[in-house]
């Protein structure tokens, strides 16, 4: 009730302002947005990337304000439910709610139905595609598949043993397609750039059970990463939200091993161990968030399922690219040049790694020879691919 009165006052004030202000500066409505982060806001990974995206919006869109709450998961905050936090954010004046985890799917949908006047963005979800979303709920995701291809490519260029490992979170469509993208990038580097035989290449995926370590519930990512390195893998790609793989690789380097890792999610992830870091594929949520908040400020909202491309002219353009890849300090100059050529070919469309013939892990065909995967075929990837080791389900 109180928020409605306040909204009324604000709009009355805005109307008055419009009357008296010169026409050129008709001020848009101020937008307060609530951000639900599944992990800590400073995790050097997934959640921090969203947090920084929110800060970017505050900086770029005048009058916008973020209220965030982190560690929104039942293990860290027992008893907390998404609808409950959303009620509170709405009380505090939020008109847009962003939920940053696949895990929040059910809660966000329930909250969106309870608050039809509030807009919701569920990151990485597909409720709009499946038709389960009410009209005030949209989905947003960056095309990290490209980032993962680059990460895999760099791993395939660098590995000496020909054994690359992927530290996976839980198994779902998103994580399968990211692991597969990494594999395709790595295999391309190994066979096409280095010209080595495909049968000397190994790609192993191990899933820990969640996006980050929950002691007693998930497998310990530190332990899994050590196992990879103990069994001859010399490059570990991280698919989880935190940086254990990089930390372990760095420790091993200090003990004299020639091993590397690639973290994930956050532009600054390499900083904790630059010498072991080949690079990081990261999300840059700022531009998409700013576009949505700016739209809302002007009263525009259209339900959508958005899967944003990188800006191919410059994938590391902070103001325009939804995903990017920062080469790490450990990446050789020669391989950097290979990477740039690879990125150019992906951008121009000359190279499409999701092209047939490709088989699923169980041997059934995924893409026929010459067939290129549609967005939906990539989004709803049913299994890992033939040639990858690790569980598909």
């Amino acid at each position: 009730m109180r928020s409605r009165v306040r909204a009324l006052l604000v709009s009355a004030a805005a109307a008055l302002l419009c009357l008296f202000a010169p026409a050129a500066v008709i001020s848009a409505e101020e937008v307060t947005f609530g951000m639900l982060l599944v992990g800590p806001h400073n995790d050097h990974g997934w959640s921090q990337a969203h947090y920084e995206g929110g800060r970017y919006v505050e900086e770029k869109v005048a009058g916008s304000k973020m209220i965030y709450i982190d560690k929104v998961n039942p293990a860290d905050r027992p008893g907390l439910t998404i609808p409950m936090v959303v009620d509170d954010l709405v009380d505090k004046g939020a008109t847009l709610i962003i939920g940053n985890s696949d895990d929040m799917k059910d809660g966000i949908r329930e909250a969106a139905a309870q608050h039809p006047e509030i807009k919701f963005i569920h990151i990485s979800g597909d409720d709009v595609l499946t038709g389960k979303a009410p009209a005030n709920l949209s989905n947003l995701m960056g095309r990290m598949e490209y980032g993962k291809m680059m990460a895999g490519f760099v791993a395939g260029l660098t590995t000496n043993s020909g054994k690359v490992a992927y530290l996976g979170p839980l198994i779902n469509e998103e994580t399968r397609r990211l692991a597969v993208s990494s594999y395709l990038g790595a295999r391309h580097a190994w066979t096409q750039v280095r010209g080595k035989p495909a049968d000397q290449f190994r790609f192993k995926v191990s899933w820990i059970g969640f996006w980050f370590n929950i002691p007693g519930v998930t497998a310990d990512p530190t332990q899994v990463a050590r196992n990879f390195l103990d069994t001859g893998h010399d490059v570990v790609l991280s698919g989880i939200d935190t940086t254990e793989a990089l930390i372990v690789a760095d420790q091993r380097r200090k003990e004299g091993a020639d091993v590397y890792a690639l973290p994930y999610d956050f532009i600054g992830s390499c900083n904790s161990a630059p010498e072991a870091c080949l690079g990081v594929p990261y999300f840059n949520w700022g531009p998409d968030y700013a576009r949505i908040v700016r739209g809302l400020a002007n009263g525009e909202w259209k339900q959508s399922w958005t899967w944003t491309n990188p800006n191919w002219a410059d994938i590391n353009d902070i103001d325009h690219s939804a995903i990017g890849f920062v080469p790490g300090a450990a990446l050789s100059e020669e391989n950097k040049a290979h990477l740039q050529a690879f990125i150019d070919d992906l951008g121009s469309g000359k190279l499409n790694l999701f092209s047939g013939p490709l088989n699923y892990q169980d041997g059934t065909p995924y893409l026929q020879a010459g067939e290129k995967a549609s967005d939906k075929q990539i989004w709803y990837l049913k299994q890992l691919l033939e040639g990858m080791e690790g569980a598909s389900k």
């Binding site: 109180r2 560690k71 609808p83 409950m84 936090v85 009620d87 059910d106 839980l170 469509e173």
Partner: protein
């Protein structure tokens, strides 16, 4: 009424110790205690929607605490309450899964709660048997069974009951809205669940304080050897005590599934079982204070979410306050006992 006055001074004393301790802690980390307490209060009692969230925590917490009271009366530390709540949730979820297409949601919800209570009671009975037949102390049996119950729920969520194609920490596929525990339009807490809990409080008061069964239970708890002289079987009362304890925890678990999360999640118990132990200890094992202490703890749990949002403080402060409450209560009760010992 010297008794009531003593309780009141005790309560005030406990609160004063806790407030002073928490304020000191906040001052050390450089946060304003007044602001923090203000956010805790506004975050839990500031609006009807917030208060209904508090009630949503109060319901399972009170049910668990009531259950614990039966076990304590018979002299048992039912640490296994956490696992019993999990089993209650599993039982309820099992029935709801089975009855998705039954077309009779009310029947299914009733069956679900009953199944949850039954399964949890059996799980509690297991701990009781380990005690009476196997000589395993109930604290160890309970702790062990808690771990096993976690294993079972994770196995179900990641195995046979997983979502189509996806095993996820976010739990099983949600039940259709028809199978959500009924509530009223615009309510964030189910008045029916509230009524159930109030009913449980009234029945517990009748049974424990005004019935022969309650008297016998108390006698067993006080002196199990002596009661057998009166022809009572201490083992029988022990088992009955823990079974009721389990059934109430199971009801709490069933309500978490049907009323709050609408699916089974790994953290379905939300730690309310363990928190219930604190509530009962703080209540000095008496019934009357339980609903109020449970309300206070529930308010802390819900209000504490404001701390990270408004002050960038960690919300575990609520846990610190709850722990400090129990510790200072034990201190006050202990001092009282000492004093009584000195001047009989």
């Amino acid at each position: 009424m010297p008794n009531l006055r003593q309780h009141l001074t005790d309560t005030l004393l406990i609160l004063a110790i806790v407030l002073a301790f928490t304020a000191l802690l906040l001052a050390i980390v450089g946060a304003s205690p007044i602001e923090a307490f203000g956010h805790l209060f506004k975050g839990s009692f500031g609006s009807w929607s917030k208060f209904s969230r508090v009630l949503n925590v109060w319901i399972p917490l009170t049910l668990c605490s009531l259950g614990l009271l039966y076990a304590f009366r018979s002299g048992l530390w039912n640490i296994g309450v956490e696992g019993q709540m999990v089993l209650g949730a599993i039982g309820a979820a099992g029935v709801l899964r089975w009855g998705v297409d039954s077309g009779n949601p009310l029947l299914m919800l009733t069956l679900a709660l009953l199944a949850g209570m039954l399964l949890a009671a059996l799980w509690a009975l297991l701990a009781g048997w380990l005690k009476t037949r196997g000589g395993v102390h109930e604290i160890f049996a309970g702790l062990g069974l808690n771990f096993v119950s976690m294993g079972i729920i994770l196995w179900l969520i990641f195995g046979p009951w997983k979502r189509p194609g996806i095993a996820s920490m976010s739990g099983t596929e949600p039940f259709p809205a028809a199978l959500w525990f009924p509530t009223l339009e615009g309510w964030r807490v189910s008045p029916f669940a509230l009524a159930l809990t109030v009913l449980a409080i009234i029945i517990t008061a009748r049974v424990l304080n005004h019935s022969r069964f309650g008297l016998n239970l108390k006698a067993v708890g006080h002196n199990p050897r002596a009661v057998s002289l009166y022809g009572l079987s201490p083992q029988f009362y022990l088992l009955i005590g823990i079974i009721i304890s389990g059934a109430l925890a199971g009801l709490a678990g069933g309500l978490q599934v049907s009323g709050i999360y609408h699916r089974l999640i790994p953290a379905i118990s939300s730690g309310y079982g363990y928190l219930g132990l604190l509530v009962v200890m703080l209540a000095n094992f008496r019934l009357l204070p339980i609903p109020f202490i449970a309300l206070f703890f529930a308010a802390l749990n819900v209000g504490s979410i404001q701390l990270p949002m408004m002050m960038q403080l960690d919300s575990s402060l609520s846990g610190v306050i709850q722990g400090a409450c129990v510790l200072s209560a034990l201190l006050v009760f202990g001092l009282r006992k000492l004093k009584r010992g000195r001047n009989p």
